[in-house]
């Protein structure tokens, strides 16, 4: 269970303080998926980083499974915009980063994850040797290598071409079913939010405040894109964003 209770996040110090997030509350049950959508730079990434324990809210409380989040947690994985791969580490080292940093990390067989994502024949390569789509896969492998119970994603598919994007969205969906983690996705892409979010929260422009919450219970299958409900949810989202 993820609990976000009246969270306000500020950036900077003194007179240069910028309010990124204002009084946001929501709750996500274990194993569910949530998409956060809003204009670029509205503050939703700050909220995600606070959930990851990387920054502290000015007020309000973020809790995961009843514990307040202050520092990065071992059972929470974060996937960044450009996959966050370190260019000087090989695919194998990148995928095993958490294990490399904390020797006693519970290790879901990383080799198995890499093989499952079709990366077993590029383990000794550096990120620069891979296509964009493959880099994202390595980022996913890294996140899954610790068998997280919560997966946080910050625009994980930005700057990908449409087909690669859809392929990796399908992959996320399958992995979500398979591993049963809770998933929070930050995006500014309507179609992505409608495809991956069981619930979708729409944010206003900075500071991010919740302007609408849309339930999307029928998501969850690969062919949802052909479903009229999918298009219905997309129009609802468009209206909410324009409002």
């Amino acid at each position: 269970m993820i609990d976000v209770d009246a969270v306000t996040i500020d950036y900077g110090h003194g007179e240069q303080t910028v309010r990124a997030v204002e009084d946001v509350s929501f709750r996500l049950e274990k194993g569910k998926s949530l998409a956060l959508i809003g204009p670029s730079g509205c503050g939703k990434t700050s909220l995600l980083f606070a959930l990851a324990g990387l920054l502290h809210p000015r007020s309000g409380i973020i809790g995961i499974d009843g514990e307040e989040v202050n520092t990065p947690r071992r059972d929470v994985a974060l996937i960044l915009q450009n996959a966050g791969l370190l260019p000087w580490k090989t695919v194998w080292q990148n995928a095993n980063l958490a294990l490399l940093l904390n020797g006693d990390f519970p290790q879901q067989n990383a080799a198995e994850v890499l093989a499952h994502l079709g990366l077993d024949n590029v383990m000794t390569r550096f990120p620069a040797e891979l296509s964009e789509g493959m880099k994202r896969r390595v980022g996913i492998a890294r996140a899954l290598s610790t068998a997280p119970s919560v997966l946080l994603m910050d625009e994980p598919l930005a700057s990908l071409d449409t087909l690669t994007r859809e392929k990796i969205q399908d992959l996320f969906l399958n992995l979500w079913h398979e591993h049963e983690f809770s998933m929070i996705l930050v995006t500014h892409n309507i179609e992505e939010a409608a495809f991956l979010g069981q619930r979708i929260i729409v944010f206003t422009d900075r500071p991010a405040q919740i302007s609408a919450t849309i339930d999307n219970p029928q998501m969850g299958s690969i062919d949802f894109r052909q479903n009229p409900t999918f298009h219905g949810v997309m129009s609802q989202l468009r209206e909410a964003l324009e409002a």
Binding site: A52, R74, L80, G84, P87, W88, N121, P127, E129, L130
Partner: protein, 254 residues
Amino acid sequence: MKRVITYVISIAALLFAWEMASIAVNVINHALILPGPFDALSQVVKNAAELQRNFMASAWRLILAIAISLATAMPLGLAIGREPTLDRFFSPIIYITYPIPQVALILFLFVVFGTGSATKVAMVALALFFQILVSARGAAKNIDEEYVISVLSAGATRWQVYRHVVLPASLPQILTSVRVSIGLGIAFLYIAETRAALGIGLGSFINKHMLFSRDRAFAGIVAMAVLGLLLYIAVDVIERILCRWKYVKRRPLK
């Protein structure tokens, strides 16, 4: 292979230009003022033993000086670049001390360290310290935050951020500054070696022969050039090994 041929051609062109310059200078002055490459190279062969002794003395001073300045300036520069509090404290100090020509301190160094190798090494290390400090600081400041966030979210400690992100991300720029430092270091080493009356080292060898047997002095200059070249190659090799990731290109699956 192609690379070797290009190297041979470029060195041949350099020797040719030197020969032409030597002929021109000597004809204009009606005297043997500038020795040509063949005079100098034949002196290299004739003085091989003495040159080797001086070469080794200069080489180890230079390598030691580079090692000392790297070992001190690199960690300090990286820390200043990453920690705003350190930056606020040290940056004014750097801005004030960096522009001081370190050569101005050479007599002072002779007083402190004596006329032996220590002064020469200290002189060069002092000059290179600032080069490496400033470039390490700049490199550490410009690291893409995504890398830092990425390791922090995976549970990295502050030390691990340095070890896995700051150091490897800054290394290429630091090695570039080491490359620049080689030329600068040789210049400072020359000055330091010529200031100490009769010491060993290529600087004093060149200085000793410049007036009365200039072709031997030029043999010393050739040896200094070779020293620089060897160090450049060494840094290139080190970079190829430590920063292999910079030299890879996207390639399709097998």
